[in-house]
């Protein structure tokens, strides 16, 4: 997967389709004005795409031969995430669409994605694989790490800044991660996998011209057979875990709501005492 220092920067961004219903529009506030009914790309992946575009631009942009490829896997409608990424600025898109993928757990998903990245890398190699932080989804911290493991890449996750520097001729990713007790500066030789937080940038929005331009960008739909992956290694058949049952947690019931008439602080403490929380 290695790429020489002078070679154009080749970045793959993993993007995910999120159903519109994930957004409960009645709960949005004025800061949430982006039209979510059109949002078919996970908003956390927009930070990953923006980071990729900025890194390629910093390296001289498209004229330097640098390229951002947006990839996804999933059923037909998942292609919308790639289309949106192309509108925002990705140069090329891949959609892995195969019925055998249904029911894949982290192990199967990472197997398929790793095969797809190898396929895209071809002879040129891929320098960086970038993902969003996607912390709402049960398995998402597993999938990027397992993709990195399968491709034998170092991983640098949850970073709030990322740049490419050189150690002699060898490209190195330098990033910052802010933790609860400390802030780290992290370095990894390329190629590497990196996940970015929502602190890293302000994602751009597609304008009319970029939306038209996106229609001419290459978008490839591939199957497991194209990647040489055996269907039994993914999906329900290839899963290493099973979910036996899943129940929605009982919805929280609204409790007591009082208007402050001068003693609400006292009543609040009464409530804590009644719950044995003091």
């Amino acid at each position: 997967m290695h790429t020489a220092a002078e070679a154009p920067l080749n970045i793959v961004v993993l993007v995910k389709h999120v159903p519109d219903t994930q957004f409960d529009r009645s709960l949005t506030d004025e800061n949430f004005t982006v039209d979510r009914s059109e949002s078919i790309l996970s908003e956390l992946d927009e930070y990953a795409l923006e980071a990729a575009l900025q890194l390629v631009e910093a390296a001289g942009g498209k004229s330097s031969g640098g390229k951002v490829t947006a990839v996804t896997m999933g059923p037909d409608q998942a292609v919308n995430a790639v289309k949106k990424a192309l509108q925002i600025g990705a140069h090329e898109g891949f959609h892995l669409n195969d019925a055998a993928l249904a029911g894949s757990d982290a192990a199967g998903t990472s197997l398929a994605l790793a095969a797809l990245i190898r396929y895209i890398a071809g002879d040129d190699g891929v320098d960086l694989v970038i993902t969003g932080m996607a912390s709402t989804d049960g398995e998402t911290s597993l999938v990027p790490a397992q993709v990195a493991e399968r491709l034998d890449l170092p991983q640098v996750t949850f970073v709030s800044s990322a740049e490419i520097t050189y150690d002699g001729d060898a490209p190195v990713l330098r990033a910052r991660r802010e933790g609860a007790t400390h802030t780290d500066v992290l370095e990894a030789p390329l190629p590497a996998l990196v996940s970015v937080t929502d602190q890293i940038n302000e994602p751009r929005y597609p304008d009319f011209r970029s939306i038209i331009a996106a229609k001419k960008k290459p978008l490839h739909v591939v199957t497991l057979a194209d990647l040489g992956v055996d269907a039994s290694a993914v999906g329900f058949a290839g899963a290493w875990t099973t979910v036996d049952s899943a129940q929605p947690r009982a919805p929280r019931e609204q409790g007591v709501i009082i208007m402050d008439e001068g003693d609400a602080g006292i009543q609040l403490v009464d409530f804590l005492e009644s719950q044995k929380l003091l």
Binding site: D24, G179, A180, V185, D198, W240, L268, Q275
Partner: protein
């Protein structure tokens, strides 16, 4: 009895509550064996691990502390080969989840994260989709690798503790060359408050505090709790980013979460809706936060919070 392997990156005395919880779960399901990410442990650590049932400690032949994830997973895979445990348990921090994920691929084993309880045969109950679902899951291939959320079990000291034997395990040579490294670490201002994810009480402020977190802090201190915040408050720079609760911040599940001046956007709820008891103070009666509050006050946080703080102090004295 088969062993259960627990990975603790760098245990110190006193052992953290999550560390003691992992040991307790391991000891309940077999012989607890600990693997650590440092070549030697400080004085007293072996005894402390023994008190919670550890029978052996596996140490790497070199320092893995400055590396991220991959070399630790490689070391742990070697330990699994040597020890043949019936399961591997880690905490649910992001780095541990990543170590677990890579370990799973190395040893061809299923991984389950966000586990809230471990049952017979390592069946795991896990919290899914920001805590809105509870699922029962099982590893069907290889050695179960589980990452366990804090507060999943009450720590139990062993009935007759032993001093665990220390075993050195050769680290695989490959791995560190291509690994990510920490090249610099700046410690944040030390805090006397409990850490956000482990605290049993969290008091959080949002845009409504308007730059002044002192009333939030005073109530948190009166309750011995941690201070949290909405993204509006951290983005405004009123408090450090590490205090952010929500989808892109910390996910907390305390006994008590007090939300003040926070509207309760879906991304904020994702980080706190599994709290045992939720109290909300907001001057807008239509704020969505009231839909999930067990006790809500429609009022000004600058009068309600100080009054509550004073009242708590009074009742305690």
């Amino acid at each position: 009895m088969a062993s259960v392997l627990v990975y603790l990156d760098h245990p110190v005395v006193p052992l953290s509550k999550p560390d003691r919880e992992l040991l307790t779960i391991a000891a309940a399901h077999g012989d607890a064996v600990v693997a650590v990410g440092v070549p030697s442990v400080e004085n007293g650590v072996a005894e402390a691990l023994g008190e919670f049932g550890a029978l052996a400690i596996c140490l790497p032949t070199r320092e893995l502390d400055q590396f991220l994830v991959a070399p630790k997973a490689a070391f742990l895979a070697t330990v699994v080969q040597e020890v043949s445990p019936s399961a591997v348990l880690l905490d649910n921090g992001f780095e541990s989840k990543e170590i677990a994920a890579r370990l799973g691929i190395k040893i061809f084993s299923g991984v389950i994260s966000d586990v809230v309880s471990v049952g017979e045969g390592f069946t795991a109950t896990k919290s899914d989709l920001a805590g809105s679902y509870l699922a029962t899951a099982k590893v069907t291939h290889g050695t179960p690798v589980l990452t366990i959320k804090p507060n999943s079990v009450e720590p139990q000291p062993a009935a007759d503790p032993e001093l665990p034997e220390q075993v050195r395990i050769q680290c695989p040579e490959t791995g560190t060359v291509k690994a990510a490294r920490i090249t610099r670490r700046d410690n944040n201002k030390p805090s006397t408050r409990p850490s956000l994810t482990e605290a049993s009480v969290v008091v959080a402020g949002g845009r409504g505090v308007n730059g002044d977190f002192s009333v939030i802090e005073a109530l948190a201190d009166a309750l011995g709790g941690a201070v949290g915040a909405s993204r509006e408050a951290t983005d405004a720079g009123w408090i450090e980013h590490s205090a952010q609760v929500g989808q892109t911040g910390q996910v907390v599940s305390p006994q008590l979460y007090i939300s003040a001046g926070i509207s309760g956007a879906i991304q904020q709820k994702a980080g706190m809706q599994t709290s045992k008891v939720i109290v909300a103070v907001n001057k807008d009666a239509d704020s969505p936060v009231f839909e999930i509050a067990d006790f809500g006050v429609v009022g000004d946080l600058f009068t309600v919070l100080p009054q509550a703080t004073e009242e708590i102090k009074k009742r305690r004295s």
